[in-house]
Symmetry: C2
Subunit: 915 residues, 2 copies
């Protein structure tokens, strides 16, 4: 889902364009600080790169007259400068900050450090892309032993003032001074125990004053210096801490997972404080302008009465629903904001419409109500599930808010995975053991684990795990990424777990409060039932249910919005989308999901069939051509029947069949029993089989005797396969009303002569087998999967009607990187940013991509009608599909489930590159 | 040696240039036949491509007035046409041939098919490059039942006439009609037995007439048709047979071995017959204008009295020496031509001077003496040993015949191998068991084998073999190539075995007539001593001695000519030549052979030392950084001492050290004992060692965790190596009067960040270790051995002071070709011409070479002073060195013994590309 936020909506694009001249004027060299407030702003929504998402949103909201507490944004350029110059600031920054601060003072009528009417500010990070919870924030800044009195007087609530002060101290100590927050929790806990109090709200102003004293002593003890009383020193220390937090380990990991550049930097937003914890007429909340799970056009969100902003996101208190409808659907017992603060609710609803109309997309907003007055603190494009994204896009087209082009751009292709993959069978028995909030849709089964590290460890071993936590924090990101699903016992729909899980596309049940987890014993208890680490559970993030055992799954039904949107995508895309399909059932699935043909049918997969593997092994281990031929004759009728069925299913659509590719030793018998089987079948001594097994083994099988090298040295193998293909085509061509379109693909070509020799073989055999009445059209092409083939594409194209880029192997050879062995260093490379992303996931445009570009150019030059396709796993990756469009390929081919992803990505690529 | 003939001498180049306008005029479209004779010729020496070497030589000799029997050449273009059009000829050819034939008739006063004065011709192949014995020849063509009488009358020798006729029939039947010659040998043998005759010369004219009748019957029986009586039909059949013989298996193999293009085709030379077998005043012979073994400036050759041309080359009779000096040095008992035919000898000596002056190079000539009159039948540049090539080149410079540039071009770099490699220790005991002719210099020890097939089989298994044959024929080529040395019991210095062995650079002792070989029992007997297949012998091709057992070798002394010629080469070359040297002794050898520094010092070779391997294994198998560090500390002082010694030896010359490159598992312990050793050294359980061994193993180690990937993931390894290098440099820098030049090379880089990170590490360590007084200059560079590195050379050059192309690995990745596994298909690929040559021997210019070209361009663009070197095995291959020069590299690095080859090849490249 996360890339949605990197695709600005088209209304936003318009705003950006309008803002461009303005921003050019405003963003003069050396302008580091952008004030906002009072219906005005120096910045605007188009300046996301410079002001970060939060800063740009605050500026835009302020400019269109929404109630935003005044403040200013220090640009991301300052962050970059700061990090490059070991913590130095550009000259002039201090003067700019001072000036902006004094404007805030004027607008609020308060003064920074003034004991009577103190100005308090928040200091928040805000990068170009949202990185929830990754960087640091300081609230209530400006409080000290003197100003806390002013706050007490002004608010008329000393208890609130001292609580705010101690919160500030705690946060400042943690974020700025690096003192672990548990020290302060311990002090608070001890105080409560001594005084016999149980809740924070039980503490009086005096209690808080005592706590504050202890906090300050602890700081001196831990840091060796005092908590700073000078608000300006507080401010500059906090700014520096936020800039530094861009480079903390959590943030770096997050960026790696979400393909966010480390160079962008964060902005810092300094803004006048408003308080949601000034009593029961105060509140704080987050909301979406539509339901982010279903896409329903209704205000959707949660709030907490008498709380500060971070309390909602942190998931410490279970929040209340904003609407009555939400309260009912979530079976919440707490009153909705619609009931408690109807006027504020109305105002918020108006803001929702204003923002949606203004931005042309669903918004994710943060607000605070201070003594009945609504303040907007953030707006940004809201993350949503794939299903919601579909519905919102289609609805907004119907509402006339966006165009179909825009709608196509609104759905992250990768997110379609959520819709396409199997869901729990509704008819299957569900032994529901607990319920929570349906925080992120999808179903998953796996072993229970209770720590992120264990989740990661088991996932690396190939296990599916369900991560169960009381609540999650940014430290758990790696485990959440590794898990198949996530359960928390605390927190709401906007808790850390819920937001992150939706972003990652992981199913999540949040706030399943019936469960109690014991991290120590690695057990959890639900209504008396005990589950241990390693037990299997199933969770349904769409219903919020947790079930014991593994519940069977079925194919999901696709919503109507899916069909509409994919139709729009198909009208827009230039790239054909084919499927990698080796079996009849693959082919059926591929057609159902919109594939236009088979781009890669791997014949070797048919060889592994239990009924055939013995004959195949006999063939490999034969020492003579006769021996091989004898074995191949057993395989021929089986392969012919496979191909015939595929041709029938594909009914005239192109079917690209790759002749045998992998090294023979992949088919070798392993144990004694298998060797005996082969010896029996071939009628030879088992000793001979053993010798041949040793002989056929290779040091680097990836670079060994495979692909067309087999076809050249053991011509009978490719002859058998070609015969099976052509005879099957001839057979189906006789039955069929349409022409059978066969594309025979020669793998692992490195020199022109290879394809020339093998094409001659195919042509000769076709002449013998295919007659005119049989309605068969065949072509011969090649895989381009070796650097030499790419470089010599001009020559190879003389022999080939089509190229199919095998970017898996091309990545292996271009990088000198064995996919099987890369696990020992590739994760380190990603973590340290040595490579931007795993080149097997997103195509490496600078190396592999350059070879593709060269091959396209040279191939087309010598054969203008050359057909160009990509059939590696990159064919189903949106980033790589964009590259394929850009470089001018004709089609991509990917696994059936990824076909819709490729279709949508291809449409987005066409739209992206149309300007 | 063979490529010498592909490098036309510079005088010849001048001739070619002079001839260019002439030939342009003469070679009009559709001119297929070039007559020569009577002091004139349509063709000339410059038309080798069109007329073949033989045809061009005949034309040139005729034009400069040498006695050449008249004839004409049908061009190679006709051959190409013939082979492309299934045996059709271009239209107009028949008329051209008829016209040329009638000119020959006029010049000889004879007529084709005329019974009284019949014209007889030879029909011989002649390609652009010499392919001795590979294609077919027909002599005495024009004889039939009628014309044989005319020949008898004219020669006054009916016995001669019928002998000639039967020779013609036999040759024609074999070459044109495809009837095996053993049939005819059987008939002749039977006739001799019946008549009680033992020698061919015992047969009378009537005997030959009987034999001829039986020959003709045998032909009818075998071919189902009669031997053709029509001389025109004979002629056209023979021409077709010669053209077809271009594609016979022997010729194809020969071309493959000698890098001759299959596209060139052969010319056909039709020439009036002269007879060396018209009695004792007739003779035939071959000679060199200088001694081809030593280079002495003396006529050198052999002849046979009363014999036809092919008898000399076939090695059937042991020939006589031409000069008295030759007779003495070969201990021949037969009289020299100088004694027997002093006038003809004088004329031949004059011809030798004329030809040498005209061509400016040593010539290999064929001649026939017919009744006292000398006829020249062929001249071409003579093959020679490396030693002779050196001497001839230097002598000709001194004689003012050629320039130093020309001298440098005259020696085949590859042939230097003959001079550089160890020779038999003159002080060692030699148990000489037989003597023969010193046919091709050099010494070799190995197992005796008696067949070419067995030689090839054992050579493939890595054994050294000595091929022992009565005589060799073109069918034995593959075995001669596979053998380390060759012995024959029959034939002279110009026999097939001798010529081919010199061409291949194999030591050869020819005509060791004391030896009798029994192919059946696979034994040979020398003066009562029996040797069996598999016994070890040593042969010295320089002395002609065969010894039992293995005689020890010593380093050869290089002749003064070598030093002179290499000096000229060094003045001319642009490429620097460094050596791949891992040890102090490698370094000493490299300096001795003229290396300018170390281009590649592979640190891993030092790891295999028996004293270190346990510590290295301990390091690899350590599970923690601490464990690795502990083991590395043991290795550090040893590596430091290695490097220090190398720096001392190289004394200020650059030393390029590559940090650890190969996959760790190359160092893994193999058996139980080794695992125990490691476990002991590391103080861990052997079970843990076993587990780690399994974990470290890779599927494709070539593409695995190696090179800088190790340096990044286990930084302590590269840190230790860098420390060892820099500390050693600092130590030697203190002692030394010159600056220590260290180049630290990072292997297996694919992305810029890798080299950036590792360069920072080196720089940091250098800052700590190197002080200004220490006279150390270091640089950091990278291997370019992956396609991605080549494509991203522009970026990588920002971090690297130098590139070194590792074309071994680059070939593996560009082709997707594991060197370890290629044996199962690469030989087939070469044999079938799918690849031109083994890309690990000669650099693949179209794939690997293109990547080098790209990297050079991009690297230099971003860093103009980037140093560019090649350090794969291609660095010592002349063809690849030429490429390196052309593409603009600064230097090549190769194994010490190949340094002179690289120096000479670099000079030739500079001269080749200077025009």
């Amino acid at each position: 889902m996360n890339t949605v936020i990197n695709l600005p909506s088209n209304n936003l694009l318009k705003l950006i364009k309008q803002a461009h001249l303005k921003s050019k004027k405003h963003h003069k060299q050396g302008k580091f600080v952008y004030p906002f407030g009072n219906g005005k702003a120096d910045g605007n929504a188009g300046m996301r790169d410079l002001l970060g998402g939060k800063g740009a949103g605050l500026a835009e909201m302020s400019a269109i007259g929404l109630p935003v507490p005044p403040g200013f944004t220090i640009t991301t350029e300052v962050c970059t400068f700061f990090n490059k110059n070991s913590g130095q600031y550009p000259s002039g920054l201090d003067a700019d900050v001072a000036k902006a601060l004094s404007t805030v003072e004027k607008l609020t009528g308060a003064r920074f450090g003034n004991a009577r009417r103190p100005l308090l500010v928040s200091v928040r990070s805000g990068a170009r892309a949202s990185m929830p919870g990754m960087m640091d924030t300081v609230l209530n800044l400006g409080l000290n032993d003197a100003t806390v009195g002013g706050l007490a007087t002004q608010s008329g609530d000393p208890r609130f003032a001292y609580d705010s002060y101690r919160r500030f101290i705690q946060m400042f100590a943690d974020v700025v001074m690096g003192i672990d927050h548990h020290h302060f929790e311990d002090i608070l806990q001890r105080h409560k125990t001594v005084c016999g109090l149980s809740l924070d709200t039980d503490l009086s102003a005096t209690d808080w004053q005592d706590v504050i004293m202890e906090y300050k002593m602890k700081i001196r003890e831990e840091a060796g210096k005092d908590f700073p009383q000078d608000p300006h020193m507080q401010l500059w220390d906090a700014i520096a801490a936020v800039f530094r937090s861009w480079s903390n380990a959590r943030a770096v990991t997050y960026r790696k997972l979400h393909n966010i550049s480390h160079d962008w930097g964060t902005a810092v937003n300094v803004q006048a404080m408003v308080f949601g914890n000034m009593g029961d007429d105060s509140a704080t909340g987050v909301a979406f302008s539509r339901d982010p799970a279903t896409g329903e056009n209704t205000l959707y969100g949660e709030y907490l009465v008498n709380a500060q902003g971070e309390d909602v996101v942190a998931g410490i208190r279970t929040p209340q629903q904003i609407t009555v409808a939400g309260k009912i659907s979530h079976r919440s017992k707490l009153p909705a904001m619609e009931e408690v603060m109807p006027e504020v609710f109305q105002e918020l609803n108006t803001v929702r419409h204003t923002l949606e109309k203004h931005y042309g997309d669903m918004q994710d907003i943060e607000f605070t109500v201070q003594r009945g007055k609504l303040y907007m603190l953030q707006t940004r494009v809201g993350k949503r599930t794939a299903r919601a994204a579909m519905k919102i896009a289609c609805d907004m087209v119907d509402e006339g808010v966006i165009t179909k082009d825009q709608a196509v751009m609104r759905v992250d292709p990768k997110s379609l995975n959520q819709l396409l993959h199997p869901m729990l069978d509704p008819k299957a028995e569900r032994r529901v053991i607990a319920r929570g909030l349906p925080a992120s849709p999808g179903a998953a089964s796996g072993y229970i684990v209770f720590s992120a590290d264990e989740a990661e460890r088991l996932a690396h071993l190939g296990e599916k795990v369900i991560l169960c936590r009381v609540e999650t924090s940014p430290e758990d990101i790696h485990g959440m990424h590794a898990a198949a699903g996530i359960i928390t016992t605390r927190g709401g729909m906007t808790s850390h777990a819920a937001v992150v899980a939706r972003g990652m596309g992981r199913p999540c049940v949040a706030g399943a409060s019936e469960i109690s987890i014991d991290y120590e014993t690695r057990k959890m208890n639900v209504r008396g039932v005990e589950l241990s680490e390693g037990d299997t559970v199933t969770l349904d993030g769409g219903s919020g249910e947790l079930m014991s055992g593994c519940v069977p799954t079925i194919e999901p039904e696709l919503p109507g919005d899916f069909t509409r949107l994919m139709g729009w995508a198909d009208e827009r895309r230039k790239l054909g989308v084919l499927a990698n399909a080796d079996t009849p059932s693959d082919c059926r699935k591929a057609l159902q999901l919109g594939a236009e043909g088979v781009g890669l049918c791997r014949t070797e997969h048919m060889f592994f069939d239990a009924g055939r593997i013995i004959a195949v092994r006999e063939m490999i281990l034969a020492d003579t051509q006769e021996g091989r031929k004898k074995a191949l004759e057993k395989v021929l009728p089986m392969q012919r029947e496979d191909f015939a069925e595929i041709f029938r299913i594909m009914h005239g659509r192109p079917v690209t069949i790759r002749l045998l590719d992998p090294p023979l030793h992949e088919f070798l018998p392993h144990g004694e029993a298998e060797m005996n089987e082969v010896a029996d079948a071939a009628g030879v001594d088992v000793e001979m089989v053993r010798e041949r097994v040793i002989k056929v083994r290779e040091v680097n099988p990836m670079l060994g005797h495979r692909g067309c090298r087999l076809g050249i040295t053991f011509p009978e193998i490719y002859e058998m396969q070609t015969r099976a293909i052509l005879e099957a085509a001839a057979e189906v061509g006789k039955e069929n009303s349409t022409v059978v379109e066969v594309e025979i693909m020669i793998p692992f070509v490195s020199v022109e002569a290879e394809i020339r020799i093998l094409k001659e073989m195919v042509d000769k055999m076709a002449e013998e087998i295919i007659t005119e009445e049989q309605k068969v059209h065949y072509e011969v092409g090649t895989m381009i999967e070796l650097p030499r083939a790419a470089l010599n594409a001009g020559k190879i194209a003389h022999q080939a009607s089509f190229f199919s880029f095998g970017t898996n192997d091309l990545t292996q050879t271009t990088f000198g990187l064995s996919r099987d062995d890369a696990g020992s260093f590739l994760p380190t490379y990603e973590k340290r940013g040595i490579i931007e992303s795993d080149p097997f996931v997103h195509i490496d445009t600078e190396g592999v991509g350059e070879l593709v570009r060269i091959a396209v150019e040279r191939g087309r030059k010598s054969r203008p009608d050359l057909r160009l396709c990509l059939c590696g796993e990159h064919g189903g990756d949106a980033v790589s599909v964009d590259f394929c469009h850009e470089v001018g390929l004709d089609c991509v081919s990917c696994s059936p489930y990824r076909v819709p992803i490729a279709r949508l990505a291809a449409a987005q690529a066409a739209l992206n590159h149309s300007n």
